[in-house]
Symmetry: C2
Subunit: 359 residues, 2 copies
């Protein structure tokens, strides 16, 4: 098979210089209509598409800087992120893309804005971060200059207008799936309690809504005893409140079969189950992966969790944003979807945890 045609081939075919070809390709500068037409015809005839390789080599000179900020809170979920970021960094480095990383200690919107301001002050050409609910998304957007594109990860917020893309799972569907898993593991008829940490987050609310909707539509046997929002100032706070809430639930409802926790703090509920000696009797369901999970599954305390692979999610988001900014990619709806894996005893060994599956 013949090699790809080059800009030189196009120039020769159109009878112009490669400079002119470049101009019509990227409409920079003025080109006569006749030449423009000739170039377009040549491009079409030769099926020309510019080499990303060569372009990348040149672009090393005009650096792209992407600012990233994430909540470095004390949980297994967020501790996976750096692996994804580092991989993205090493992949993008040869393309002259520089990653500026910052983080906040909390989910607080003012912290986030401070962090973003810092990145903007360093002259980033694009931003990636997490906004947890609509109002914070709005607030943050107003702080970002119009000429700095940005994208978001993890929690979807529909209200903002300038967000280039949002990468994340469909939390409502994850809630549907969670309800079904509970029904599969605990039987058609069972008593459940939902714990909802960070209830103000969009993602949390959509997951809970997904669970409720699934129950009312097709799992009438799931008897929902209580939905317990769990809040707290620090992540550590919330974790201990999850533990306490689970403990309360176990005492309050002796017939409890399952506890669903809408994020990665399921392991606190699992500890409560274990401490109450109810392992095997009450099953816990949740999201993500924690270091304690394999053991908790083995002990039959956790039934299953839904894992959204945060490292891979951030890696993809960063690469997508870089490609978007350099004009080498357009984003489609499918690209912004995040696939999740079901972690259970039989899939633990089948899933790559905490790493990015490449290419």
């Amino acid at each position: 098979m013949a090699l790809q045609s080059t800009i030189k081939d196009v120039a020769k075919e159109a009878g112009v210089s490669i400079g002119t070809v470049d101009r019509v390709l990227h409409n920079r500068g003025r080109v006569s209509d006749a030449n423009k037409k000739a170039v377009l015809a040549a491009v079409n005839k030769l099926q020309y598409s510019p080499s990303q390789i060569a372009r990348a080599l040149v672009n090393r000179k005009s650096n792209l800087r992407i600012g990233i900020t994430y909540p470095k809170v004390d949980s297994d979920f967020w501790s996976e992120i750096p692996a994804g970021i580092e991989l993205a960094r090493s992949k993008l480095l040869p393309f002259g893309v520089e990653l500026l990383i910052d983080y906040t200690e909390t989910y607080d919107v003012l912290d986030q804005i401070a962090s973003i301001d810092k990145l903007i002050a360093e002259g980033v050409n694009g931003l990636l971060f997490t906004s947890v609910d609509d109002s914070s998304a709005d607030q943050i957007e107003r702080h970002i200059p119009e000429n700095v594109p940005y994208a978001t990860v993890v929690n979807p917020t529909a209200s903002v207008s300038r967000c280039a893309f949002h990468l994340g799972p469909d939390d409502f569907l994850l809630g549907n799936l969670a309800a079904r898993l509970i029904s599969l593991f605990c039987g058609d008829k069972c008593n459940i309690v939902l714990l909802a940490p960070n209830y103000n987050f969009n993602g949390t609310q959509r997951r809970i809504a997904g669970v409720l909707s699934k129950i009312s539509q097709s799992l009438p046997g799931l008897n929902l005893l209580k939905v317990m929002p769990v809040s707290g100032v620090t992540d550590e706070d919330i974790r201990s409140h999850v533990y306490a809430s689970a403990k309360d639930a176990l005492q309050m409802f002796p017939t409890l079969d399952a506890i669903y926790v809408s994020n990665g703090f399921f392991d606190q509920a699992a500890l409560a189950v274990r401490d109450a000696n109810l392992g095997g009797r009450v099953k816990v369901f949740g999201h993500e992966h924690t270091s304690a999970l394999p053991e908790l599954i083995k002990q039959d305390i956790v039934g299953a969790t839904i894992y959204q692979k945060p490292a891979e999610e951030w890696y993809r988001a960063i690469v997508m944003l870089a490609e978007l900014l350099s004009g080498t990619r357009t984003i489609t709806a499918q690209d912004t979807r995040v696939e999740c894996s079901i972690i259970m005893k039989e899939t633990l060994a089948l899933i790559n945890i905490g790493s990015v599956h490449l290419p």
Copy 2:
């Protein structure tokens, strides 16, 4: 952050020309010990790593040709492959990698060897194919010149020695998972039949072994009524035999709860269930995705399938082989593992079917 250091920086640091740096980097030609040491020290000091971009640009000249052959049999599984191959082709084209595609009409080893001979005659530098069992893997290996590296996909065959890597799922674990899914969907106690098309394939045998092992170890309530190997000359043959076998099983065992089919032909068993008006009473389990699957799941005839994403699998295998051949990558154990998704009613909308999830 500073840009990556270049070969020029290293040359200056070591006090030699860039030609010499290149020589020690790839040990081509002879270099004096003193210079070699100086270069290595400079590389180390500057954390130098060669730009794959620049290298790719040069390598356009010295083309790499990879030969690929696959069994283009009439099933949804194999029909997904071309999408993965085409994506790999477009990704590798700018790197000067050429893909030569051939296929066989059957799984027959002599057909495969003929196809591989054809590719070798065209001067490929590497080969990728599927060998279904140990003896065919051996036979094929003997037909490949020692200087042509190759890799295999889909069915693992442990007996060969020169295979660069094998990319595929752990079929034994998939069998374990299948057994558990049956137990989750149909209850702790139920009656099942296993249909094993292509029973001579390594992958098939390991899946069946995985199911049996899981049952005997932790699912004693699964009552295995019969294991039925299904064979035939053409793929179409086998499909109709699966239908017939399922029909037989349904008549033979009025108390049947579940049918497991060890590959993508589960939809034939599902048709037999539907035609016998046993939908909702007997559930079918299997592997992969077929065009009929969404409807069969909606009708509660199929419980779940385990999907190994063949397009993505081939895409990854091709890219890995290309990177291996061009010396820009080493393969680790983790790289050769294929993650599978569980397709069920609640995950259908969460999984990308038939396409490659990038980057």
